[in-house]
Symmetry: C2
Subunit: 217 residues, 2 copies
DNA sequence: ATAATTTATTAGGCATGCCTAATTTTTTAT
DNA sequence: ATAAAAAATTAGGCATGCCTAATAAATTAT
């Protein structure tokens, strides 16, 4: 059994607060963390007492300014460590998350800033997510066509330009939606098609039109 | 209040097993960790159950092979991270220990080896302690006269050659013993004396003879 | 050898964070 | 609007690791 720190909960709530207009309920947090709603309710009380969140059955959980600050610091550390693990230690894209999940909880006032400097102040992590800056500001995710992503890189679907039923059905079949991660394996020069990998599924070939219809960030 | 993991205990026992022929008692471990002997007794039971140590009131605690392996891995990670913090992130000598104490518990099979490679397979950490190799082997600490240490570096007293009562009394007054860390602040060329700092005490000037009488490693 | 001191151990409790199994509340479907 | 389903909460417990206070055992000093 895993045991979660306050920071884990704050980060989970932060994540949920981005995706959705949906209210952040004990159940949704429990799903995010893979634990029990009853445990979540316990923790929501503690976080409320510490003024890190506000919670109301109707409105769900919301980070206070203090809670947001902490959550963003954790996210900042997480993403910086991911860059470190990939670029400096040579880990693969898929291995870094779990390690960064541990590293994000290392406490030291200067650590994030020193790491940031050491890594050359990267703006995005290897998953394409923006790295919060020292002042807490988070860059708006820069959106490009999937087509423009270089082979070897990964990205996250931010928007879909072609809203035809046929296309959306196709995406659904592939398991692609907003937020889905796509890795560009190869680009085929002669027809502009590309070989991509959706999550951990098999590699597939998609057309140039496909690459132009998806915005990634 | 701090709470200690198994790894913390194993590392403490490992440390104690190096210094001393003295038996490793609950009290000595509690002093090492700054906690309560009663807590230590609790944990010794658990570690014994897991076959990480053997414990006997008479003989004290001893690491089993399994326990030694774990302890050495933790030490390896600790010292590698110290090198990283000092060399790559530019932390000062005195700041790295506490952070490395957190980093040493990050778990990932390849982490130590990747970090080791990234750092160029260093043999010693910034405190002069040898970094255990991937196979668990630990270099015998290379001993030199204190006199030969370059200004700016720190070292740890490994042996004392002059055993005269006068000298030992002098060392005692300075708080210098086996294991004491000394930082060389400056060397005075004309008479071979040196300015040193013992732990966090004030800087003091010691003679050339002093520098020749202490072996550091 | 006995007394005094120090060390080790046990007993009993506290806090944290988890769980399952009720129970209550809210939402959804008929 | 009522019944059924889903979600939130509470109650009661477990495990971990810590503590203090009391007791037992071992060491040291007289």
């Amino acid at each position: 059994m895993h045991t979660f720190s306050e920071e884990n909960y704050l980060r989970a709530i932060y994540r949920l607060s981005l995706d959705a207009k949906a209210k952040i309920s004990p159940t949704s947090i429990a799903e995010e963390l893979n634990n029990n709603p009853a445990s979540v309710v316990d923790m929501l009380k503690k976080l409320t007492d510490k003024k890190l969140i506000s919670y109301d059955k109707k409105k769900g959980a919301k980070l206070t300014d203090k809670g947001t600050k902490t959550a963003i610091e954790v996210v900042r550390k997480h993403r910086l460590w991911e860059v470190f693990l990939l670029e400096k230690l040579g880990y693969g894209w898929e291995e870094i998350h779990d390690i960064a999940e541990q590293l994000e909880h290392i406490h030291n006032d200067e650590l994030a800033d020193r790491l940031d400097k050491f890594l050359g102040f990267p703006d995005y992590d290897p998953h394409g997510d923006p790295i919060p800056k020292a002042n807490g500001k988070i860059a708006t995710t820069y959106k490009t066509m999937l087509l423009e992503v270089e082979p070897g890189n990964s990205c996250q679907v931010a928007a879909v330009k072609d809203t035809s039923v046929a296309f959306l059905h196709y995406l659904e079949k592939l398991g692609v939606g907003i937020g889905t991660r796509i890795k560009i394996v190869e680009k085929i020069a002669f027809d502009g098609s590309m070989v991509i990998q959706v999550g951990k599924a098999d590699k597939i070939n998609v057309s140039k039109k496909f690459g132009e219809s998806i915005l990634v960030g």
